[in-house]
Amino acid sequence: LQEPRDVGLAPSTIDGLFRKADAERWTLAREEFADVLNASVGRAFATGAPSTREMDRYLAGLHVADLALAAACALGREQAWDHFVLEHRPVLYRSADALDPTGGARELADSLYADLYGMGDPGPGRRSLFRYFHGRSSLATWLRAVLAQRHVDAIRARRRTEPLPDDDGAAAVVAQENDPDRALLVPLVENALQEAIDDLPAKDRLRLRSYYVGQLTLAEIGRITGEHEATVSRHLSRTRRSLRDAAERRLREQDHLSDAQMARAFELALEDPGGLDLQQVFDLAADRKKPPRDRSNYEQ
């Protein structure tokens, strides 16, 4: 993380935002509010001095009321905590239940709540997690983001310690490795596809990975990309076509495969789809097998 810069906001600007945030409601002093405001601006423009327009745009977009509430909570103001508990703890718990309907994420929500209060810091004094909130988003969204991060990290940590499953397919793997066609063709398909994926614009890769690797619904992807799910669906279709075209072009022009070899290569690659299922991506066998689950009205 870059160190915040001292940007020295004008007193009149601070006064205006102090009033807009209604910070006195939480018995927050003007100087205390100015500190968090300066910290927020200093962090946002850590790399260079902003233009007046950039600064105005940044300040206009700040969630100053949430910033004041978080600052007051971090300073242990009773009224602010009462309000936070009333308004935001239900949000936190609903999010936890959405992440894990069995209630597993509630533990994380409780520990997050403790860290917000500053109980998780073993050092001297109480250092609240609120110090990482700078008002660029709403407080509710920031809480959901922190909870989501902790949930994902907990799952990833658990997976690392889980034993690998018994390898029942070892015999089949040996048989596959003895297939000369497979040894030659499957790496070619993998390389061609990997190259095509690498060449995609970041947003196309984001949609593709969200859908096929992350298993998100089109609506969920739309919430990430800011698009309607029908738009996401159209982009995915276009990306699939472009991937297949690019992969075929490479196999034909660089690897000099015939049409028959290419068909055989795709067929072999289908047998070990891995993280990105070729069958879904290229729709190679749509008539042979239905998609794994219907994830939207706009499913192709």
Binding site: L1, R94, D110, Y117, Q149, H151, P201, L206, G214
Partner: protein
Amino acid sequence: VRVDARPQGECLDAETLASWTDGSLTAVERTAAETHAADCDRCLAVLAAIARTTPPPSAIQRHSWLSFRWLVPLTTAAVAISVWVLMPGSPGVPPAATPAAPAAKPAEPTVQAERDSRPQARADAPQQQKRPPAGAARSSDQAESRRSDKADAKESTGSSDRIAERAPPAAAAAPRAELKDERARTLARAAAELPGVIVSPDPAVRWRIAERSVERSTDGGRTWRAQPTGTPVDLLAGAAPAANVCWIVGRSGVVLLSTDGETWRRLAFPDKTADLVGVTARDAVAATVTTADGRKYTTTDAGRAWTVE
């Protein structure tokens, strides 16, 4: 086939993720975040988790409205002209011998809301524990609170899966749906046609861009012929200072120039991450492009050198 993850830079922090979700990142920050998340398993999983906890969006509907905002003055003008033409005694219409035809009905909304319109589940009752437990111990009233929260969560998270169930009965809705579809198609055609058309000083010669493809017409837009540009990114704006000269800009610092009206070459641009959203051109060598965050770059030697304002 596996997708190798080679993310660029550090993982996105909670503030960036939250700002992304709330739509408050700048265009440059957003592009950088998308580039990282596209290749990062962890950030993708976190984004997915946030998406699962996100209430059905209202931003999409706002966006749909904004995308057709340019139609407002057009529609107003059309209505004004219709009223003027149909007014008895106006110069364009002879006095009516029969009663005037009934006025047209107001337009139906063209975008069907597909998100859950139910209000959010209410916040819990105020009887909550104010301070967190030191450990994981919870009292019985917390357990009760959890059950109540779970019920709320079930309501709110289950709603997005019921989009199909809320569709009106097919038979009753068919004529209206056809009408809506036709209007939506008309609007979509108009929206797709107008903003992407680049008209040269010769009105017969024009280009149009749609995402990544470029087409040229030499008969005033009656027929169009595709022109390969070899560009793998979305193209966003263009300017044609002459009938055979056209500049087109797009995402990821793409600047294309055609000086013969037929072939395109990509010019070097100093910021390869910038989304270029506007261009004005004086001739085949001088142009100014605008980035999504408002910076302006000018060249006077066909892209060999750029100066930033």
